[in-house]
């Protein structure tokens, strides 16, 4: 069965030197328990594939602080002093991808495609060493699929077959990464019985999920922006 007790059980088989995709945009929609458990594990030399690799010292930044990460494939490192420092010191390799290209490479990995041609990055540093091709009068770059050993994703609700529903902007990269790994682990706010989710409203079919467990989440806020009723 796919249901496991906790993150420790879910991460069985994740070893030093592996590649790990982690869902989330900044700190929103992160697989918090998996990250915490990884940070306590002593596993090192990881390649992390994630849009931001944590932020403000939190999330995946904990793995950076522990020197567990040797390479990061991401789109944005602003607001992440741990990553910026180790990158500039040459301690961590960073491969920057345009955000849409990162999402699409992961999707290609999950969908069994070898790669694709995108207009994003033509004429920029991103194009260095990549094939350029004109298709129907427009210039495109070749970008390759991206896969990983493990994908750690977070969802709002899941059933025991691994069918998932995401909540609001916590969706982001989570469903894509779930498709693109050898082993996909999902941590969910609420685990329900099979049949409780409407078949039309499953965001990610369960065949992409190998292990699932229920966990509580802190949902930290990065930039707390509010308005006051008076200002209305």
């Amino acid at each position: 069965m796919k249901v496991v007790k906790d993150a420790r059980e879910a991460l069985q088989g994740l070893e030093s030197g592996m590649s790990v995709m982690s869902g989330g945009f900044g700190l929103c929609g992160n697989p918090e328990q998996c990250i915490k458990t990884l940070a306590e594990s002593g596993i090192k030399d990881l390649t992390i594939i994630s849009n931001n690799c944590g932020n403000q010292g939190r999330g995946l930044a904990a793995l950076l602080q522990n020197r567990q990460v040797s390479k990061v494939i991401c789109s944005f490192i602003g607001g992440n002093p741990d990553l910026a420092t180790q990158y500039l010191a040459g301690e961590v390799q960073v491969e920057l991808n345009p955000q849409g290209t990162l999402a699409e490479r992961i999707r290609a990995g999950g969908a069994g495609l070898g790669g694709f041609f995108t207009p994003t990055g033509v004429g920029t540093a991103v194009a260095d060493g990549k094939e350029l091709r004109e298709i129907d009068g427009r210039l495109y770059l070749f970008e390759k699929l991206l896969k990983a050993d493990f994908a750690l994703v977070r969802a709002a609700v899941g059933d025991k077959l691994g069918n998932l529903r995401f909540y609001r902007t916590s969706r982001n990269f989570n469903p894509l990464m779930a498709m693109a790994a050898r082993v996909t682990v999902a941590e969910v706010d609420t685990l329900v019985e099979v049949g409780e989710l409407d078949p039309d409203d499953i965001h990610l079919p369960g065949l992409f999920v190998d292990r699932i467990f229920e966990a509580s989440h802190e949902n930290p806020i990065e930039h707390r922006t509010v308005r006051t009723r008076e200002a209305r």
Binding site: N172, E222, V226
Partner: protein, 211 residues
């Protein structure tokens, strides 16, 4: 005299049309949301997977799982929808976003944009900037006309690494509104009290005037 940041944002807001799908970059462009002209409705797209971004929440509406691409807490407007990052960038790359309003470090008269890195100085990554600049039907840049040291940021050609080539339609600075026309900028409008001479002096590319 030149435009304040508020006036710049208001002027950018005037570019929007009823029904437009609009993506606002981080920083000054975000302010444009406050200046949508009366009588029109637009939908704001946020590349982290949200179409129909509403204003910042009241305290009692605050939801950590509703954020924009700047990771600020926001709300959902009526008719909003959520989706994954691949679909979000399919929208952008596929030309389904009508207007992207982005910050800029430099714009060249041929429409090239630099806004993602300064070699040796700024290391942040491009995030969604390259997709947005090149993908939207219309790309508008809001930036200061010159750097703090007085050097023009409207160039004959970029000095910084490009974000996307030939993508910028229009630049709005504190001095006025300028179209990228290939071998020159075309000034459509000057802020009150800004002279043609001043605009020319502060523009490194070739500047022409409409009418």
């Amino acid at each position: 005299m030149s435009w304040s940041r508020e006036e710049q944002a208001r002027r950018a807001g005037a570019e929007l049309k009823d029904g437009d799908i609009v993506n606002l970059g981080i920083g000054l462009p975000t302010e444009v949301a406050n200046y949508v002209p009366r009588g029109i409705q637009v939908m704001f797209h946020s590349e982290n997977g949200l179409l129909g971004m509403g204003p910042f929440p009241y305290e009692d509406e605050l939801d950590p799982q509703i954020i924009n691409a700047g990771k600020q807490t926001v709300t959902l407007a009526p008719g909003a929808s959520l989706f994954d990052s691949a679909l979000s960038f399919a929208m952008i790359r596929g030309g389904h976003v009508d207007v992207a309003i982005l910050g800029g470090l430099e714009v060249a008269q041929n429409g090239d944009l630099a806004n993602w890195m300064i070699p040796g100085k700024m290391v942040t990554g491009m995030g969604g900037a390259m997709d947005l600049a090149g993908g939207a039907k219309k790309t508008l840049v809001m930036q200061t006309h010159t750097s703090k040291t007085g050097e023009s940021k409207l160039m004959d050609r970029l000095s910084l690494p490009p974000t996307a080539l030939g993508c910028v339609n229009r630049v709005i600075t504190e001095l006025g509104v300028f179209d990228c026309c290939g071998d020159h900028f075309l000034c459509l409008e000057l802020a009150p009290g800004v002279s043609r001479e001043e605009a020319v002096a502060r523009t490194k590319g070739e500047l022409r005037f409409a009418g």
